[in-house]
Symmetry: C2
Subunit: 275 residues, 2 copies
Amino acid sequence: MLMTLVDGVPDAGVPADDRGLTYGDGVFRTMAMHGGRVSRWSLQYAKLASDCVVLGIQPPAGEALLQDIRAIAARAQDCSLRITVTRGSGGRGYAGPENPRPRRIVSASPLPAHPVEWASAGVTVRLCALRLSEQPALAGIKHLNRLENVLARAEWDDPAIAEGLLQDTAGNIIEGTRCNVFIVENGMLVTPDLSRCGVSGVTRELVMASAARHGLRCSVETVSRRRLESAAEVMLVNSLIGVWPVAAFGALRWREFPVATLVRKWLDAFDHPAV
Amino acid sequence: MLMTLVDGVPDAGVPADDRGLTYGDGVFRTMAMHGGRVSRWSLQYAKLASDCVVLGIQPPAGEALLQDIRAIAARAQDCSLRITVTRGSGGRGYAGPENPRPRRIVSASPLPAHPVEWASAGVTVRLCALRLSEQPALAGIKHLNRLENVLARAEWDDPAIAEGLLQDTAGNIIEGTRCNVFIVENGMLVTPDLSRCGVSGVTRELVMASAARHGLRCSVETVSRRRLESAAEVMLVNSLIGVWPVAAFGALRWREFPVATLVRKWLDAFDHPAV
């Protein structure tokens, strides 16, 4: 890592009794910083705070996080930022502390170095064997319990494979290990329902809002593997990669990505209040 | 906490990029130390190592952990010990590091102060609303993804309630938030099947082995809520509490605990190699 701030203190360690470590009791977000500016900060903060509230954790003040981000920007203008908020230390076993003091951890890493042609020519994806478990109480939240993602990502090490698709126990496509999925059917966007498993990302929300603004219908539905395989386009989105069209999945090939190209233009043009 | 050792270093912090913190990528155990001795250490170590192997983490050497335990015993003879092993720092996102250096964290806390009569007169338990999700790839493992336990434990704050019972999505009883469950039917023991969710504890394994040795049939089966409610006895077990008979669950009451008393005698008499 390039730099870390723990409750604003540079390069501090985290106490071993932090509940983020002991139980995964917290949430996080990953986002890009370019030229010292964080894209779509207001959306990132809103989602972080909303995820905290679902777990009953008091969200950190936006100003405290902005101070951390400015401190990082002073040392690393272009980086991948991760913001973690845990319930803090203490409590008796699983029971949380009576007077919780949530801990915030902001860290900067080098931006991922993906082949530039992946955004234009599309990526190769695979299907993960691991099936996501269904937990409505945690679905959609980007919490720290991410062993399923770790196990799924460990299924392959071919660097030519950009991402693995994850299914629920019924075999429906939910997401990638680190991104959300959209398909194009009859010129319209469809993204999988995340009410029982999966993580709902800021870029997914932004694509849905942009589609509405531009009059392109986008619906949240159950997406079977067969439905994805029959789609006119498949695309992967997250805050670091933007939009990747899928060019290859098993024996299937896609060669034209008009809607993915449109979605990328929307995201690029999004009038985002940066830090 | 009374004391913590991170890779053998007293009271050190954990780096913010530790994968136990960032993803819950690790395992742990909790056990009792009395008079500087850890009960059933060989079983605890075997389960810790076996859980590490399931996640593809190299288990720490037993001798390294024993050195940590001795260092703690020099300062706290009677305590609750927690041993955590994470995949260590690094990797690219969910992908693990190429040359992982697992991190071990050993910490001592005061032993829990439960009313002594709970072991003899039995405890009051409740049914948790949260249902456990089903993930065969992680079932049985005491990994660091414990948000379900945290959410379930947050459902009540009445100190007279000793434990909450957890069901799977089908409504079968799986475990307590921090213990395993046995029921007595026709003089025989039954414990819930943990192949799809739940944590398999060392004390559960020990009760099963002791039952076999003493000629009491003990089987692993699906235990519906109705079946538990109809049982002659219900008992909770873990390494810290030993055996608690259940005296009250909703409107139900149990007043005689002959098998729980027997099981406690087995555990007390177990010829355990202590540190």
